[in-house]
């Protein structure tokens, strides 16, 4: 009996201890496991809620596609769905037209999952383009407002109201962000990017720690500077100078011909320089008057060189295009070359006429005052000679432009380009007429001044003759008086 009791006395405490240990372990692990599971559950729900909302949003987009924009479910009044079960939760939906905006809609989605509600907002724009069906619906704005902001049919639209404010902020920051983004695109290391962002540049580790191979590779890697692609807006205009090297590869292009691309770029640069220099010169004159002539002369010289280069390049381009057209492998390729060259040539011709027009703007506004301000025939004659030279140059420009228009007359070109060509020649003709009128007026003014000067000269001559006659009479009277005095003296002596 006592032996049995002694044995039990050993086993019981040991069993109790072991049980307590296991219980402690299980409790601790269970608690931890539960905590971890809760966290994972919450983070999963966070993502899952977004997926529910995104699914609901996709269903709205599908409905718009299915019904077409003209027959959209929210055409006349907001479209709502309530407590639609999805992915273990449910969502509420309200879609309505954006107030004051065509082809735009506001989508409000409120999700409920595991007792937590979340709110999502999308503003979408419908792109009514049958040729671009994959891009019909564009997300304008995505936001995650407070759950309380979910609107009722007639309730306030808090988030929609904030969009206007965002719009203003976005517009205010647009230029700054574009400039900063352009700078960041050129940066090739992390430090320079952080500096440009205005952030705190981190210091290196204070101790030496082993560096992993992948980390070393990443640190040694130099970010690739992407190509500087110009904004495509200019190329999309009807009068644009055709595609640049950003759009056509540097290698030889059997269709358009590499030489054509190079010449097009050169031509565009020269014609733009012509317009720019001419504009600068006349701006200088406008602002500083006669004092601005030295600076303006420099710009005119630049403009003259640019004009010469433009003409030469135009000739080369037209010649080159003829070769390209002759060697074009298909009708489509030929038409493509013709259209591109025509577009480029017309654009440069337009630049030339713009530069000419810029100079003659003053003739319309200031021609009378110029001539009236000049009071001598010599000054008017000098001006007339300059204007006659300008008339000759303009006539030469018009002839050359007409000749070029004839060269590309048979080229395939869009109606916009064709119209632009007609307008360009008309503009050159108009400029010629302006200078011709100015020359005629200057000639008339010269004749008028010459007549006035002749009259003035005649009057002056007459006045001079009167003075001479008076002086002669006075002189004769003096001589006569002297003679009489001498005679009297002689008679006195004889007596």
């Amino acid at each position: 009996m006592s032996r049995k009791f002694a044995t039990r006395g050993m086993v019981l405490p040991l069993s109790l201890l072991a049980t307590l240990a296991v219980l402690g372990l299980v409790t601790t692990l269970g608690g931890l496991n539960q905590g971890l599971r809760t966290q994972i559950y919450r983070t999963n729900n966070h993502q899952l809620s977004f997926l529910i909302a995104y699914s609901a949003f996709s269903r709205v987009c599908a409905k718009v596609h299915a019904f077409s924009w003209a027959n959209r479910p929210f055409l006349t009044e907001p479209y709502t769905e309530t407590k639609i079960p999805l992915q273990g939760g449910h969502y509420d939906l309200l879609v309505e037209n954006t107030a004051g905006k065509d082809y735009q809609a506001d989508v409000y989605i409120r999700t409920h999952l595991a007792g937590i509600s979340r709110m999502y907002f999308w503003r979408i724009r419908f792109n009514d383009d049958l040729l671009d069906v994959s891009n019909n619906i564009i997300v304008e704005l995505y936001a995650t407002p407070d759950v309380e902001d979910f609107p009722t049919i007639n309730g306030p639209r808090k988030i929609a109201g904030q969009v206007e404010e965002m719009l203003a902020q976005r517009a205010a920051n647009q230029k700054k962000s574009d400039v900063l983004a352009a700078e960041l695109m050129k940066s090739v290391n992390t430090k320079s990017v952080i500096e440009k962002m205005g952030a705190r540049v981190p210091e290196d580790f204070q101790q030496e720690f082993p560096v992993s191979v992948t980390e070393e590779m990443m640190e040694a890697r130099v970010a690739v500077a992407p190509p500087d692609i110009q904004a495509p807006l200019a190329a999309e205009k009807p009068t644009a100078p055709g595609p640049s090297s950003s759009y056509i590869g540097i290698g030889y292009d059997s269709i358009s011909g590499n030489q054509i691309n190079e010449l097009s770029e050169k031509l565009t640069a020269a014609s733009e320089k012509l317009v720019e220099a001419t504009d600068k010169a006349w701006t200088e004159i406008d602002q500083n008057g006669v004092d601005g002539i030295p600076a303006a002369t420099e710009q005119w010289e630049i403009a003259a060189e640019a004009k010469q280069e433009t003409y030469e390049t135009l000739d080369s381009l037209i010649d080159e295009s003829k070769t390209g057209i002759a060697e074009a492998p298909s009708i489509e390729a030929r038409e493509a070359i013709e259209e591109m060259v025509a577009q480029t040539v017309v654009s440069s011709m337009n630049d030339i006429t713009t530069a000419i027009e810029r100079g003659y703007e003053h003739l319309v506004t200031g021609e009378g005052s110029y001539l009236e301000g000049l009071t001598t025939s010599a000054a008017v004659e000098s001006l007339l000679n300059d204007w006659k030279a300008a008339e000759e140059r303009t006539q030469a420009d018009l002839d050359r432009l007409t000749e070029m228009a004839g060269d590309i007359q048979g080229y395939s070109m869009t109606s916009e380009v064709s119209q632009k060509l007609t307008d360009t020649l008309a503009s050159a003709q108009e400029s010629l007429e302006k200078i011709q009128d100015a020359v005629a007026e200057a000639e008339a003014r010269l004749a008028e001044l010459k007549e006035l000067e002749a009259m003035a000269a005649a009057e002056q001559a007459a006045a001079s003759a009167d003075v001479a006659e008076t002086e002669a009479a006075e002189e004769a009277a003096a001589v006569s008086a002297a003679a009489e005095e001498a005679t009297a003296t002689v008679e006195g002596e004889m007596e």
Partner: protein, 176 residues
């Protein structure tokens, strides 16, 4: 009358008993110690995972609000990311060496810093947030102009936790 002599423990019995008690005691002590260590390890790992997931959610939410990825360019992989948000503020996510944690862990450990440039000029302390304080590596790969793949490894004393996410920007068109 019979006098029965009470038998005492022999030396062998005593030695065996002491050995057994010592053995069982050691096992029990080890068991408790093991429970403590396991609990500590699990606690660290759970904390690591929880913090990583929370930071991951925050990171994904931030990127999702972006409108344009400035860096990395499409196809590029970088240890930092710059993107614009809907009101054209610029945000950079980058790594800063964390010397304190590195000393404890004996390896290169960084903080994940998010800094937002709102064009007020100069460094604005309020615009900086530390998303994670012990990250071992971070990669951003731009797979398209509107999406980025994030790959990060978070570490602590007892292990590491890696996450990989493909995040798409939600603000694609901008507002007009």
């Amino acid at each position: 009358m019979c006098f029965q002599r009470r038998r005492a423990f022999t030396v062998v019995e005593l030695v065996v008993t002491v050995c057994l008690v010592a053995l069982i005691g050691t096992v029990v002590m080890r068991l408790f110690s093991s429970v403590g260590t396991t609990q500590q390890n699990l606690s660290h790992q759970a904390t690591l995972q929880m913090e990583s997931r929370r930071a991951f959610d925050h990171l994904v939410d931030q990127i999702r609000m972006g409108t344009d990825i400035v860096r990395p360019a499409t196809g590029e992989t970088l240890p930092y990311m710059v993107f614009k948000d809907v009101i054209n503020r610029m945000t950079i996510l980058y790594l800063e060496p964390n010397n304190d944690r590195a000393s404890v862990l004996g390896q290169r450990v960084y903080k994940l810093v998010a800094y937002q440039n709102d064009y007020k000029g100069g460094y604005q302390a309020d615009n900086e947030k530390i998303l994670l304080d012990s990250i071992r590596q971070l990669r951003f790969t731009s797979l398209s102009p509107t999406s980025v793949q994030v790959n990060a490894t978070v570490v602590n004393e007892k292990g590491e936790y890696q996450f990989l996410a493909h995040v798409g920007l939600m603000n694609l068109g901008g507002i007009e």
